[in-house]
Amino acid sequence: MEGMIQDPSQPSSQPQPPQQNQAVAGSERLNKALQQQLNLESLKTRAISLFKAITRILEDFDAYSRTNTTPKWQDILGQYSMVNLELFNIVDEIKKVSKAFVVHPKNVNAENAPILPVMLSSKLLPEMEVEDNLKREQLLQGMQNLPIPSQIDKLKARIDMIAAACDSAEKVLADTRKAYCFGSRQVPAIHPTLDKGQAAKIQEQENLLRAAVNFGEGLRLPADQKQITPSLPLHLVDIMPATDGVHSFTDSSGMYMKNSPLMSNNMGSQGSLLQATGAQLISRSAASPAATSATSFDNTTTSPLPYANSPRSGTTMMNTPSPQQQTQQLQQQQHQQQQRQKMMQLPQHQQQLLAQQQFRQSAMQGLGQNQLPLHDLQGQTQQKFQSLHGQMQFSQPLGHQQFQGRQLPPGHVQHGIGQSQLNQGNQLSRHLGQFSSPANTALFNAAQGTPSTQMIPNMSATMSSQSLLPRMQYGLPGSNPQRTHGSQILSDQMFNMGSNPGGLMGMQPQQQQQQQQQQQHGAQGAFGNMGTAQNLQSNMVALQNNPNFAQQRQQNQQ
């Protein structure tokens, strides 16, 4: 049995109908074949065939029992032994197969014998042996005479060092990768994202910036901040003294030159009075009496009568009317000059009437212009206050027919504001009583107080004051609008917008200069449909008129 070689490919012996030897022969396997097979399949086949054999026998037994024939016991025993053997073989086969998974001795036979020595040899191939020796030489240089354990230790140390170097190199690489945000090789790069709050902030800032650059939003100054800075940047200083929204002004000297011949127009050009020229005209008119005085009135000084038209007061750029106004004045120049001359010759009251007419006309013309220079109110208001104040002061005592060469007695000139001006106003009020209307008074003062070239500005200033005065009175708080005066009615017709500012101006007549300036600012707001500078000038005129009508005002307010 054992010597028999079985073809491994064939399944082990199939137990045929009872045979004695053949089933046994099928169970023999070569060990090699066992290794190939791992034959659960063949085992299964054998087990199935064994099972079939057993069932066949059992069927035979059934047949025997049915037919009541005595079976041939030798045959049955023979079949049984056959089946038994087959089962034993299968079990043995399994054992052999299981042995294939564990080391088991290989049977040496004629075929195996020659190769066995080679396979059993553990010696390296020649070239492999040389390489191996070489590497060993390299590794164990200098250590071969040492005992083995120390050699082992040294080799271990070497290995550790190399391992440490590798680790540090890896670390540096990782750090650099992180710093450059390249991402580790192993992990895919994670894109840095802004958190939402930060992104929202940036978005908001961006919208601000884009709106500002493209549309100018957030850059517009509110009206109350549209004051020219005292010190313009260099590139603007010699170009424009002007402020926002208003005409730019040429340098003052040039303007003055233009203004003087044009001042005749101002008498009638109410618009210009209301506008930029208002303040300057007031100042000019105020200064006119003092034109020939020795003192040089500079607008920036607190001299009593800053002479706006004087060549010496060259820095009052505020007082230069806008080019628009100038052109308008130019247009009216001839006509106005004629009228002016006429006026100068006329008796006083007629002059006043004429002036009123011209005033009215010019008011109509000039209403369209709403541009006033915004100037430094502080310095100017004082001056204008004083100038007009001075004018008012002197117009009365100096008589009627003084058009030129009037000089302000210095004693009368007061730098004061508020109270002082009120006092002066009170002084004037005595004189004012002589006239039927304050408007006439103002006009008269203007007519009196102006030398030829300056009369016009003065007149215009007083005209403006005249116009504003009634307005102011009209608008006095707490007081019913007083339309008793013809001038008031006149002004009401002419200045539809005027009441409130005057009222605002008149509200606090007895305050200090600062408060007056505040008043101006306050009233400035009230001139909604007028230019801001225009309002200011009107305010200033109104302020200037305050002292003149202190009585009335006091009466109204107290």
């Binding site: 840095p192 961006e206 910036l209 517009r220 730019s248």
Partner: protein, 217 residues
């Protein structure tokens, strides 16, 4: 006509952007300090208010003035496909009386701003100008010395190139391709379209600022 795109960049990356632009443009930067005065005509001058910008270059020893009118942008389906804004623009140098002139004409000051930064002008398919500037507003009228930045941490980047109606396509292409080079640091878009910042700008800036790894960042 001009082609224009705008973008924003955080202040910390402006230096990196400068390095990038220097490399791309091949020219040196020019410092920029411009006082922009925007004037608007009043209703008495016409039915539609018109706007005029006066630019005063304060960087020169003698301030030079430029008058500029920016018109409407190109509209239509074609314009929407272009990533660059094409709009009409007329510009001219002017004497220093230009402000007075416009005031005399009846224009009023609408707003003003101050731009401080640098600019690169170069030729790359078209005459391109890149301006990186911080925009400041003036709290008081014309007070350029006391200007306050509108957005303290963010600067505006503007890429413009003049064009005519015949060649604006080429100019648009040139500007677009140039803008792609700036993509690592900032997004550029038509004015009025907000972009946000580039999240990886930090990395790009770091790589631009570092000198090849010899120094620690």
């Amino acid at each position: 006509m001009e082609c224009v795109v705008q973008g924003i960049i955080e202040m910390q990356y402006v230096e990196a952007l400068e390095i990038l632009l220097q490399g791309l443009c091949g020219v040196h930067k020019e410092l920029l300090r411009v006082h922009e005065i925007c004037l608007k005509s009043g209703p008495n001058l016409g039915f539609v208010a018109s706007e005029v910008k006066l630019l005063c270059d304060l960087e020169q020893p003698e301030p030079t003035w430029t008058v500029k009118h920016v018109g409407g942008a190109m509209r239509g389906a074609g314009a929407e496909q272009i990533s660059v804004l094409v709009r009409s623009m007329v510009e001219s140098k002017a004497s220093k009386n230009v402000l007075r002139l416009f005031y005399a004409l009846g224009y009023k000051l609408d707003h003003e701003l101050l731009r401080v930064g640098f600019t690169f002008c170069f030729q790359r398919g078209a005459q391109i100008t890149v301006t990186v500037s911080s925009v400041s507003k003036m709290l008081k009228l014309h007070a350029t010395d006391d200007a306050v930045s509108v957005t303290p941490g963010i600067q505006l980047v503007e890429v413009t190139a003049p064009a005519t109606s015949e060649n604006y396509n080429e100019v648009v292409a040139a500007v677009s391709s140039f803008c792609e080079y700036l993509a690592p640091l900032l997004h550029l878009s038509k004015p009025g379209v907000s972009t946000g910042v580039v999240p990886t700008a930090a990395a790009a800036a770091a790589s631009l600022m570092s000198d090849g790894g010899g120094t620690t960042l």
